[in-house]
């Protein structure tokens, strides 16, 4: 197992999941067991207060036109990845407060703003950019625009971070010592 996984204090990360490559997990984020996160094309940074549920997969794919040094995949705060969803984005940026519903699939070259919902079993494969608050649902991939962002899952996060330690082995936060330097560089880089 790679040693590049940085878990910030306050994150709840189950031991029974596959984390490969350079991954940073922000405080308050909950990662359920059986999650796969693979950073093969560049680092993955997951911000605070995300929920990543069982059997979800997040892959930062290798691509030909890769920059050097590789651009990180930045996943904003308050994102929810529901059971079995899959994200294969090398596109660098995913906004905040998005919901990836069960078994949804987001392919490469899809840029996602903030407050978007990818409905259960919806597959986004064509290159596209989702504006903020876009909701996609149903087998016909209906699109509508929500007025406001999805409500945050803070209560659920609170509950999970209390309950998970009772039933699962957790990975310990490991970045207290070199936290200041690494954290700053990573979080400032995707901003521009």
């Amino acid at each position: 197992m790679s040693h590049n996984v940085k878990i910030l204090p306050g994150a709840t990360v189950c031991e029974d999941c596959t984390l490969e490559g350079d991954i940073t997990i922000g405080g308050g984020t909950v990662i359920h067991p059986r999650v796969t996160i693979i950073a093969e094309g560049g680092p993955i940074i997951i911000a605070e207060y995300c929920i990543i549920e069982e059997y979800s997969t997040i892959i930062h794919k290798k691509s030909d036109k890769q920059e050097n040094p590789p651009k990180p995949l930045f996943i904003g705060a308050h994102n929810v990845f529901e059971v079995g969803c899959k994200l294969e984005s090398p596109c660098g940026h995913i906004g905040e407060s998005n919901v990836f519903e069960c078994r949804s699939f987001v392919g490469v070259d899809v840029k996602i703003g903030s407050g978007c919902v990818i409905g259960a079993a919806c597959r986004l494969t064509a290159p596209q950019t989702l504006a903020d608050n876009t909701v996609i649902w149903g087998s016909e991939h209906h699109v509508r625009e929500a007025l406001e962002k999805q409500p945050s899952q803070l209560l659920q996060l609170d509950f999970l971070s209390k309950v998970m330690p009772n039933y699962h082995r957790l990975r310990k936060p490991n970045v207290h010592k070199r936290q200041p330097s690494t954290r700053q560089s990573q979080e400032s880089s995707p901003k521009p």
């Binding site: 409905g119 149903g138 209906h142 406001e148 999805q150």
Partner: protein, 489 residues
Amino acid sequence: MAYLTQPDYVKYICSCGQLKPITSLYFCRHCLKIRCGFCICHEVDSHYCANCLENMPSSEARLKKNRCSSCFDCPSCFHTLSTRATMAQPRQVVQDPAAGGDTKVESKQPKKMYYLSCFNCRWTSRDVGIPDQPVASGGWPERTNPHAARVNQLLDYYKAIALQEKQEKIERERKKFNIRGKYITLTDKTGLTGAMARNIAGLPSSESSSSAIASFVPSQATEEVEELPEDIFTKEVNLNQITSMPQRLASPEWQPSSVSRLHPLAKLLSVKRSQRCRACDHNLTKPEYNPGSIKFKIELLAYYHVPEVKIISHEPVKPGGKSALLLKLTNPTGHEMQLRLLQPEDIPPPEEKEEPKSIEKSLERSLNLEKDTTSLKPIEVTCEQPATSRVSAPDVTLTLAQRDDAAEYDDDAQHDTNDIIMWRKSNKLALRLEVVTDEGAEGGAPAVAKVALQYSYRNTVPPAAAAATPRDHTLYTTVLLDLGTVSSN
């Protein structure tokens, strides 16, 4: 069970000629005939809301336009809306300080507010600016139909016309009667009929109805139509702002064209139905009244009374060739069953017997002149379904044991007997048969084999007053087997 998601390989011919799988057929124990959804009466038992399971009598349902008053559907995707609670700070007080100082005294504690939200497409009542409600159920603003007055006017008008036509009909009937009989009845003298008719129809008295007809103004077609806006062809279309056709048609009163005008749709009520045999007026199914229950008080399904035929496997069907066919027969009844396979032509024609009509029934019929019962009678058709193959039926009588739920647990099937029966197990039986296909069958055409079943049936209906009716019957049914396609040699 037959097959849930696969095609129906085995179809029974209903007494009306329809082809149906056994799971969608009924069996009338009084006529001893197979019935299907096309040849029975469907009756509405009760109205209920599928979401909150509230029951309501039909008069109330009509009044509420067959919609639930407390449940809503999503106007965007038609999924049921859920009520969600949020904690809201009483903000309004702060917003207008001019409105009296007293309101400020109200508790500053966060108040629970409710809004409607769809879990499927994430539409919320806030999207269209419906204010949150302080109570969880009800209180949602109701919109009035912009055409309510006109709709009511039309309703009154049509009611009046219906009444008038009814009166004219009664008048005609009476005249006919008078010509024939040439005497004045009591009702003629007292003029009771008109009032009676109005009573029966539940309508107001004739004076108001004639005035409704007189004062009615029919709609006028006009050539002047509102001009289209200037920019209709040049303005960029934002599909996210425009409603789809189904969304517009879901609220016919408003037909919103913009997404911001979608309002929650009051949920449509569902009905519990009971089914009735048209020939003998007995119930075939009757659900329990409680909307939460999925059980039936009466459940005369063919699946419980008619031997079930399933195809185990078969050889490919060739024109002019013979192929083996393995069938499984199941006896679903609690009595032993004698079974024979026949050619469909060999079914004896049903005996024509005129039902002795009871006096009560004919009296009842004479009383409601309106109801023309002849159209309700089932039409019996012998199905002339073309079949490419015929099953060479062995001339043996098979005995099928009664259903025994305990026997399900023994799993040693008896491999006995003869060249036809492959095995027997409790109330089931596997047969090895031969299918002969027509010489002229075209390759690629669907291969259908037709076979008739003769089976004994014991009627367990408690015998009516006279116990003369026989309990044991010999019944016939015809089955069509789907054997794939005819292979071209």
